[in-house]
Subunit: 214 residues, 2 copies
DNA sequence: TACGTTTCTTAATCTACATTAAGTTTTTCC
DNA sequence: GGAAAAACTTAATGTAGATTAAGAAACGTA
């Protein structure tokens, strides 16, 4: 009987922890959504069951290369990277995501094909998980979210166009200088070798740039 | 009186030409939309007034660097490029669009800021024009199109992620070889120096690669 | 058809960053 | 707290593609 009581308390505590995580994440997401689309109380009620909250440990994978990207992820807390490993075994980061960003391999998610990318947590984090099938159901129930996701995707699209412009136009050094000026806290937050990877050059070269700057 | 009659005939002929262009473009677009979203007859009736058809001459600009991107464009016929000019005066192509593609500077369009890009026609072409404000009205009238545009944008997103992967991973030569194998007709269709620009290297280098391949 | 413009080709020289190879410092984990 | 792993730094050497400078070929226009 004591064992059962203890298990019940543990279960209730787990439930409490999950609920707290879930509320925190949903709050972030609703704040984000309402920046683009206004929702009624009813719509909010309708949409909340479609999301699952997840806590991730540092280095935890959400999916790995070769797996189908299982969901679209909204970052409530933490930092994540989408990366691939090239034929020399070197990791190349294609995208980071921090609070209030969505991240996924959108080609894999859309076409349900194995991803060449892996998605990994860089620190303890909290996410909302929206699987493809679940998203389809959700959008059937709350069609206003089609608008939200369209706006998000179009913004990401514009950002990608600008990113490709920078890759073409700026030297490695210029990219570093601009990025560090635009996102100084982010630069402190991640390992320098990952920053180098994202900016498209080697950690050795980044060391050289940093030495030059001192 | 004779002059009036001639003017009326000219005006009717212009209207006929426009109508023919418009029908052709709308047909392309409706075919495209129905690949993703099914529309009722009523919805089709509702949406058609929101699009303007446009014919472009070779080299014609839809917008130039420094202007706000005025619209989202659906390509019914022809080929277009989105490019910027770097500080050395060299043109860098960020994107092409051919039949059934949408193209715009999505950052400029979304935020209504001056674009660093220009959008130019590479051959005589035909487009449907959807200005931002008009799109908002349209989406208010036929909300199903939110879904269509979300899907399109998400696919473009996935494609951009893959594009960035290729830029990081493959050498210039490898990019050329893969692109030429994947899109042989497109390679014939555009000037080689534009292909080089899009793939991220100089026309001189492309000449070298082509010589090597013979 | 002739001329000017655009596109493509060729080759030598240059350069931004990669690669190789360590050593040093910081972080992690038991 | 100590050892191992990870991250950062340094420097010499190498390389993929850029730059420079033309010349040749193709295209467009009057």
């Amino acid at each position: 009987m004591v064992k059962l009581a203890i298990q019940f308390i543990i279960l209730s505590f787990d439930l409490f922890l999950y609920y707290r995580l879930y509320l925190s994440c949903m709050y972030s997401l609703l704040q984000h959504i309402q920046r683009f689309v206004s929702l009624t109380e009813e719509e909010i009620q309708l949409l909340t069951p479609y999301f699952t909250a997840k806590q991730t440990e540092k280095k935890e994978y959400l999916f790995k290369e070769g797996q189908i990207c299982p969901a679209n992820y909204f970052v409530s807390k933490g930092c994540y990277r989408l990366y691939f490993v090239n034929e020399k075994g070197v990791e190349n980061i294609v995208q980071f995501a921090i609070e209030n960003w969505w991240i996924a391999d959108y080609m894999s998610l859309e076409k349900q094909i194995p991803s060449p990318f892996s998605l990994q947590s860089l620190e303890t984090g909290e996410l909302l998980v929206l699987e493809k099938q679940v998203q389809e159901e959700l959008l059937g129930k709350v069609s206003k979210l089609e608008r939200y996701f369209r706006i998000i995707a179009q913004r990401a699209n514009g950002a990608a166009q600008v990113r490709i412009k920078y890759i073409s136009e700026l030297s490695g050094e210029e990219r570093y200088v601009q990025f560090a000026a635009s996102f100084p806290e982010f630069v402190q937050r991640i390992p320098q070798y990952m920053l180098a990877s994202y900016l498209g050059f080697t950690p050795e070269f980044l060391s050289k740039l940093r030495a030059k700057k001192r």
